[in-house]
C-alpha cells in the first residue's frame, strides 16, 4: 500500500470554484493531465505532494478510466474540457481563469472544479 497525502487546491486570483481537497487512494492513484505537451507543472506538483502518479491523459487513458483518476488537470479555454471531467465525476483543476459556461455548465460546481490554479495554489494539509 502506498502512502498518500492530502493537498488543498485553491482558486487563483482570477479563478473560480474550490477549494478542492485531493487525496489519492490505491483505487484513485492518477493525477491525469489533459493539457497536451506532457505533464504540466501543476499536475507534477500535485502528484509529487500527494504521492499519486502523474499520467498524460492526452496520450492514453489510465487503467480503470475515470474511476482511477484522483483529479484531472486541464488548460481549458472555457467550453469543453471544463465540463467533461466534472460530468464524469472527476475533480477538475483548470490552469486558466474560467468559470462555468457552455452546455455542460450544469455539471460544474465549486465542490468539483477550481480554476486559475498555479503551483502556488497547492498546499499540503
Amino acid at each position: 500500500m502506498a502512502e498518500y497525502k492530502k493537498v488543498k487546491i485553491e482558486r487563483g486570483p482570477g479563478g473560480w470554484g474550490g477549494p478542492l481537497e485531493v487525496k489519492p487512494t490505491d483505487e484513485k492513484k492518477y493525477v491525469v493531465c489533459i493539457t497536451g505537451g506532457g505533464i504540466h507543472p501543476v499536475a507534477q506538483k500535485i502528484a509529487d505532494m500527494t504521492g499519486a502518479e502523474p499520467f498524460d491523459g492526452f496520450k492514453s487513458s489510465p487503467e480503470g478510466g475515470f474511476k482511477a483518476m484522483a483529479c484531472a488537470v486541464i488548460d481549458c479555454g472555457g467550453t469543453a474540457r471544463i465540463g467533461v471531467y466534472p460530468m464524469k465525476g472527476v475533480p477538475t483543476i483548470d490552469i486558466h481563469d474560467t468559470s462555468p459556461a457552455g452546455p455542460l455548465a450544469q455539471f460544474i460546481r465549486e465542490e468539483n472544479f477550481v480554476s486559475g490554479v498555479g503551483e502556488d495554489q497547492i498546499t499540503e494539509i
Partner: protein, 118 residues
C-alpha cells in the same frame, strides 16, 4: 499558405449539445475518447499559422470570418488540435479559448466534410 486544412472524420455523440448552441468544438483524432464524444473530430494535421481577426474559415462549404480570438485559442489548437468556434459574430471573445465567427449560413457539419483555415 493556409493555416490549416483537414477533414472531419467523426461527430461525437454529444457534439450536438454544443452545435445546437452555435458552438463547434474541434478535437484531433488523437484526443481521448471522452473529449471526442463532445467534439467534431478532425484528422490531425500540422498547424502552419495563427488564427487572427479576419481569418477566413471554410467549414462544410460555408465561409466563416473570424471576429475575435481568445488568448489561449491558438495555443490549444497547436498543442491539442482543439479549436472552439462560436458562431455568434461577437467581436469580443467571452472565454479564453473562443474563436468567434460571423457567417452567412450556419454550416451543417458531417463526416467527410472539410475544414480549411486561410
Amino acid at each position: 499558405m493556409g493555416v490549416y486544412s483537414s477533414k472531419i472524420v467523426k461527430i461525437g455523440e454529444q457534439a450536438h449539445l454544443f452545435l445546437e448552441e452555435g458552438i463547434v468544438v474541434f478535437f484531433g483524432d488523437n484526443a481521448p475518447e471522452e473529449l471526442q464524444d463532445v467534439a467534431v473530430v478532425h484528422e490531425l494535421k500540422e498547424v502552419t499559422g495563427e488564427i487572427v481577426v479576419g481569418t477566413t474559415i471554410n467549414l462544410s462549404n460555408e465561409e466563416l470570418t473570424v471576429t475575435a480570438v481568445g488568448p489561449v485559442a491558438n495555443e490549444n489548437f497547436v498543442n491539442l488540435g482543439h479549436l472552439v468556434l462560436k458562431l455568434d459574430s461577437s467581436t469580443e471573445a467571452a472565454l479564453p479559448g473562443d474563436v468567434n465567427c460571423s457567417f452567412s449560413n450556419k454550416p451543417e457539419v458531417k463526416v467527410d466534410d472539410t475544414i480549411e483555415i486561410n
